[in-house]
């Protein structure tokens, strides 16, 4: 991928990220942080890619550890956010 394409994607994503959360009540700060936290758990994808092309035991061991940690981050993150938001149901 060309450097310009990457910089474009990065820049646009920065603005989208700023824009989507610019108006949020303090009530939702914690769930929003938790949800964003779960989203960066997609590093799991990266962990799986490096596990796939690991060529030594050291690389594979580190990659497997990364997969475990990333899965905890992603799966646990979405579940805990859902539990927080469960409390908001039926609220106007």
């Amino acid at each position: 991928m060309s450097a310009v394409a990457i910089i474009s994607i990065f820049t646009l994503a920065v603005f989208v990220g700023f824009e989507v959360v610019s108006k949020v009540s303090s009530t939702l700060h914690t769930p929003l942080m938790s949800g964003a936290n779960a989203i960066h758990g997609v590093i799991l994808v990266g962990a799986i890619i490096v596990a796939d092309h690991s060529s030594t035991n050291l690389e594979l061991g580190l990659a497997v550890a990364a997969i475990v940690l990333a899965t905890i981050n992603m799966v646990g993150g979405f579940v805990v956010t859902d539990r927080m938001l469960e409390m908001f149901k039926g609220k106007k």
Binding site: I6, F10, A13, V14, F15, V16, G17, F18, V21, V24, S26, T27, L28, H29, T30, P31, M33, G35, A36, N37, A38, I39, H40, G41, V42, I43, L44, V45, G46, A47, I49, A51, D52, H53, S54, E59, L62, A63, A65, A66, I67, V68, L69, A70, T71, I72, N73, M74, V75, G76, G77, F78, V79, V80, D82, R83, E86, M87, F88, K91
Partner: protein, 463 residues
């Protein structure tokens, strides 16, 4: 699967993440937003198993290891998230963020080992960035976890010359980073990781009390950026989009949280460089306080026209949300005007109290935010402070130099009477003495919040 299809599905997952963050910004759509995010993440993960990177073929190498590791992670993460108590959610989020940062750092290290001398300078720079920030996020989050779990002191840890140690570590980190980029080698990279872990610890230690959630949010944004950098090295559009989104929205969220607490973001982050060791050795003087019985409190409430309940972390610890609602319902039945005064950072995290009281089905219209409730304390007969301290401490308004100075507070001291339900005279999370406790119009009811409230409820019923 073709590269084009793989990238398009990645883009779809990226859109899911945008919709997730958008949804999470509004109470009505928050839960759906989170689910959309989970769907996006699931799709993104599944699709990796069906795309062979160049020089690789399907099924993925080490597939057994990969699936086993995912299963182990899920078996740890899901029960932890399911079983955690409401009071401990903040530290769990901190921990999840930390392991995410650790994962990003590990991915970068593996990719570095793998690429060896074939790595381009740009790839090495991004790898170095990921290792530094990922390690800082990991060790920093662990420290915030220990602080919130009260496994270590919640006060700022400042030692003489601390700022020079921190600055020195930062310089060393940057120096080694240059070494890694110029000399390429495993040893420099491991030194870099170790120094970055140390810096993360030193960076978070001086942060105390109420500022901890802000730091968690910042570290969350950091982890996002490491994911974006990994995306560059691994040539994954999805990781770049997802990581950047979290990095950007996390930065804004950190600023919003700091504003809600009346803290300067700069002061929070660089407190380490300006903070002076605090004299905490002085023995707290014994001063008279007025403590009352549950009956005294019940009588006070019975003849009140307006009562404001101010919940804090103690309410969450005692799991007293249902009992407090019982008390409120009883008072309403007696014709007393009841409202809850919610400080944005009461508890350990912004919104903690709203979540807790919503669990007890407290009607939303009884929950008043700080700006709404503060002007009404003048017409309030009794303010009941349940397990809160720092958020009602007048020191935040009239004692420049104290760690929470400048934080907006609930002005309960304007009410005709103040009742504190406390476990002990111990100061709040920020570790600051509260003058209001010694005020003649303040009555203290010592004990576990739930036990105390239950006694007040039965005393009030008997009247």
């Amino acid at each position: 699967m073709s590269r084009t299809l793989y990238d398009l599905i990645g883009l779809f997952a990226g859109v899911c993440f945008i919709l997730a963050l958008k949804g999470l910004s509004h109470p009505k759509t928050a839960r759906r937003g989170n689910k959309i995010g989970a769907v996006g993440a699931t799709i993104a993960t599944l699709v990796v198993f069906f795309y062979a990177n160049e020089g690789s073929s399907l099924p993925l190498n080490n597939l057994g290891w990969i699936l086993g590791a995912v299963a182990v992670g899920a078996l740890i993460g899901v029960p932890a998230a399911r079983k955690v108590q409401m009071t401990q959610m903040p530290q769990l989020v901190a921990l999840f963020n930390g392991v995410g940062g650790g994962a990003a750092a590990l991915v970068a290290i593996v990719e570095y080992l793998h690429l060896g001398n074939t790595a381009t300078t740009a790839e090495v720079i991004f790898t170095v960035f990921t290792v530094i920030v990922g390690c800082v996020s990991f060790s920093g989050s662990i420290i915030t976890f220990l602080k919130l779990q009260e496994l270590m002191t919640t006060r700022p840890v400042v030692f003489p010359g601390g700022r020079f140690v921190i600055a020195g570590t930062l310089v060393a980190v940057l120096g080694v980073a240059v070494w890694v980029v110029s000399a390429l080698g495993t040893t420099p990279l491991l030194v870099l990781a170790a120094l970055s872990l140390l810096f993360g610890v030193l960076f978070v230690l001086p942060v105390g009390g109420a500022d901890v959630p802000i730091v968690i949010s910042l570290l969350n944004a950091f982890t996002g950026l490491t994911v974006a950098a990994s995306g560059y090295v691994l040539n994954s559009v999805l990781l770049i989009i997802a990581g950047t989104l979290v990095g950007a929205s996390g930065t804004i969220l950190t600023r919003l949280m700091a504003e809600a607490m009346g803290r300067s973001l700069f002061g929070t982050l660089f407190g380490a460089f300006t903070a002076k060791p605090q004299d905490t050795s002085g023995v707290a003087e014994e001063r008279p306080v007025r403590s009352g019985s549950p009956d005294d409190v019940a009588i006070l409430l019975n003849y009140a026209r307006r009562v404001v309940i101010v919940p804090g972390f103690g309410l969450a610890v005692a799991q007293a949300q249902h009992t407090v609602r019982e008390l409120a319902d009883l008072m309403i039945a007696k014709g007393i005007d009841v409202a809850y005064g919610i400080h944005p950072v009461a508890g350990r995290m912004p919104g903690h109290m709203n979540v807790l009281l919503a669990e007890a089905n407290v009607p939303y219209d009884q929950l008043l935010e700080m700006d709404e409730v503060n002007p009404t304390f003048g017409q309030t007969d009794v303010a009941i402070v349940i397990g809160a301290n720092d958020v009602v401490n007048p020191a935040a308004q009239n004692s420049p130099g104290c760690p929470i100075y400048g934080m907006p507070i609930l002005e309960v001291s304007n009410a005709a009477n103040v009742v504190f339900l406390k476990r002990s005279m111990r100061p709040g999370f920020a570790g600051i003495e509260n003058e209001l406790l010694y005020d003649p119009k303040t009555m203290l009811l010592f004990g576990d919040a739930k036990a105390s409230l239950t006694k007040v409820v039965s005393a009030l019923k008997a009247l």
